[in-house]
């Protein structure tokens, strides 16, 4: 649970929302063309989703209890989910397998879970 104030959270939501709209509106507003973006910027923008998504997902698997530990239910379940995501590219199947493996490991009591 956060200890940020209600007002601070409104500020966060407004700042993210305004910034995100301006990013979305940018070229549509001024009607600049794709070739107006320098090639290096295009290359950076193309890399952002892969880099950011990997950076968000990884610690949730490797630091399940706060410190680095690969012998956890979450690392094993996340690895299984990653295999499914890689093979099927199916969001529903990925979530289902990840949660299913996690619950199975916990029910079996592996890792002292």
């Amino acid at each position: 649970m956060t200890s940020h104030s209600t007002l601070a959270i409104w500020g966060i939501l407004a700042a993210i929302g305004t910034g995100t709209f301006l990013i979305r509106f940018s070229f549509l507003a001024v009607l600049a063309r794709v070739d107006a973006i320098p090639p290096l910027v295009t290359r950076i923008l193309r890399l952002i989703p892969a880099a950011v998504l990997a950076a968000i997902a990884m610690p949730a698997l490797t630091h399940a209890a706060g410190t680095f530990d690969l012998a956890t239910d979450r690392f094993v379940a996340g690895t299984a989910a990653a295999l499914v995501a890689w093979r099927t590219r199916n969001v529903v199947a990925t979530i289902a397998v990840g949660m299913g493996v996690l619950w199975a490991i916990d029910a079996l009591g592996w890792f002292g879970g």
Binding site: M1, T2, S3, H4, A8, I9, W10, I12, L13, I16, G17, G19, T20, F21, I23, R24, F25, S26, F27, L28, A29, A32, R33, V34, I37, L40, R43, L45, R46, L47, P49, A50, A51, V52, L53, A54, A55, I56, A57, M58, P59, A60, L61, T62, F68, R74, A77, G78, A81, A82, A85, W86, R89, N90, V91, V92, G98, M99, L102, D106
Partner: protein, 233 residues
């Protein structure tokens, strides 16, 4: 009930709605989880409900909720969300030529509704058919509105049930699972693969970084690694 053949614009709108239908099935659990995550992070019910119409960008919403829940500094939370959404600049630039003849008001609506999925559907359609701008806009709106409707319905349900989910269900684990599910389609070539691997290793190593700057730093390292990999090809 109207009679006669549908106008091309109306038909294009229906085409857009139909085209995106199979994709929104995957958006539903994602939205559900975003709603639950907002409540779990400690947002009020009104804020959790407002987050989706205010931001309308799932990955950044989930990341922001995670950082809010961990009491990261405001600037780090906002910057992280902006970086995640920087990709929309690329989509905006790609949609500018086909939408150039539309009024500014309509282009603003298109911008507000811009998502990975609606963009993907539209670029496929625009490459195949040579329609006038109003029909293209109608197709885009059909796709974008179906996606928005699904997303908002899912997040509302998530917020409502969010408080009632027992902790033993470990539903918070669905958040990284969503990111894993989105990650693999984002890996399209060697550069994006190198970026993802480098960012993942960096994120696992930099978890202890102060101010929860680990995510931003790891993403930056991934991007640089991707640029270097591309440069050496």
């Amino acid at each position: 009930m109207s009679t006669g053949a549908p106008t091309p614009t109306r038909a294009a709108f229906a085409d857009g709605a139909r085209a995106i239908a199979p994709i929104v099935i995957g958006v539903f659990p994602f939205g559900l989880i975003a709603g639950v995550a907002a409540v779990e992070a400690g947002l009020t019910t009104v804020q959790a409900l407002a987050a989706s119409p205010m931001i309308f960008a799932g990955a950044s919403q989930l990341a922001a909720m995670d950082l809010i829940g961990r009491d990261s500094p405001l600037l780090v939370i906002v910057l992280t969300a902006w970086v995640i959404n920087a990709r929309f600049a690329m989509y905006s630039a790609a949609l500018a030529p086909p939408f150039a003849s539309l009024r500014l008001r309509h282009r603003a609506v298109a911008a507000y509704l811009l998502t990975d999925q609606a963009f993907a559907m539209s670029t496929i359609r625009f490459a195949r058919t040579d329609e006038p701008a109003p029909a293209r806009f109608a197709f885009y709106l059909g796709s974008a509105l179906v996606l928005a409707l699904t997303w908002h319905t899912a997040t509302i349900i998530g917020v409502v049930v969010g408080t009632g989910v027992p902790a033993e269900w470990s539903l918070d684990f669905a958040v990284p699972l969503v990111f894993i599910a989105l990650l693999f389609p984002a890996i399209t070539d060697r550069a994006t693969r190198v970026a993802a691997i480098a960012a993942a290793i960096a994120a696992a190593s930099l978890r202890g970084l102060p101010l929860n700057l680990g995510l931003l730093t790891a993403a930056l390292i991934g991007i640089v690694a991707g640029l270097v990999a591309r440069g050496r090809q």
